[in-house]
């Protein structure tokens, strides 16, 4: 009887997700046009998806992965 491995399935699915693009740095609204371009209630415009626990976990996992890849590359470059 084949034993299913839910851990493997879940982790495989999350690892295969596309990389979440990083946020673009917003301007600090300090120019002459700042009163016009200033956004109000930025948090309320934040998509609901970003508040989902799975989104937060995927983002955290991808951040750690990025650090891991940097370490790996640095090690390979030294060798």
């Amino acid at each position: 009887m084949a034993i299913s491995n839910p851990t493997k399935d879940i982790v495989n699915t999350i690892f295969s997700l596309p990389t979440i693009p990083k946020k673009q740095e917003k301007s600090d609204n300090s120019g002459m046009m700042s009163p016009l371009t200033k956004r109000k209630n930025v948090d309320s415009k934040k998509s609901k998806m970003q508040n989902e626990p799975i989104y937060k976990m995927v983002k955290l996992q991808q951040d750690i992965k990025e650090i891991r890849m940097q370490i790996k590359e640095a090690k390979n470059a030294n060798v």
Partner: protein, 171 residues
């Protein structure tokens, strides 16, 4: 026709009712209810020196990271730290952190996600036992070699004692 092996390694019916309700840690309100908090808890735990050394040793034995991560989160559930669903959500982060530890230490590890490599517990156990036997046999061989040397040293010809007393007699 599919047949199922009967397993005796499971709780007997009604066993869950033998303890008073709320007496177990997992029946209490969870300590960590947020996924971010839980992830931080596990990252801190893995980054601990003592734990990371033990983890690297386990990685070297060939135990897949999925198995370690799953065990960790199950223990968390058992101790009443978090719920099962939070544990499942945190799994990829635990795995990635362990991979980070392994890569930075230069340890080769098995993720358990490799295609075509089914996680057959029997095969895994057999491989671990083989590895242990090989290690122990090499150390035993070393011991045998050293004892042989000692024996060789001990095998020096015994000098005959020359009896030189009044009552001495020749044999």
């Amino acid at each position: 026709m599919q047949t199922y092996e009967q397993s005796f390694d499971r709780p007997i019916p009604g066993q869950s009712l033998t303890a008073e309700l709320g007496s177990r840690p997992w029946q209490q309100p969870y300590e960590l209810t947020d996924v971010e908090e839980t992830a931080e808890y596990y990252i801190a735990q893995i980054a601990n020196d003592k734990f990371s050394k033990a983890l690297m040793h386990t990685m070297k034995t060939g135990v897949p990271l999925t198995t370690i991560a799953n065990s960790m989160q199950l223990v968390g559930v058992m101790e009443g730290k978090h719920s099962v669903d939070v544990g499942i959500l945190v799994l990829p982060v635990i795995m990635e952190t362990m991979m980070l530890i392994g890569d930075s230490a230069g340890v080769e590890y098995t993720t358990g996600l490799e295609e075509g490599k089914e996680l057959d517990q029997d095969v895994l156990a057999a491989a671990a036992i083989d590895k242990m036997i090989n290690n122990s046999s090499s150390s035993t061989q070393k011991e045998i070699n050293t004892t042989n040397e000692e024996v060789i040293v001990e095998d020096k010809p015994i000098e005959e004692k020359v009896s030189s007393g009044l009552m001495a007699r020749r044999v």
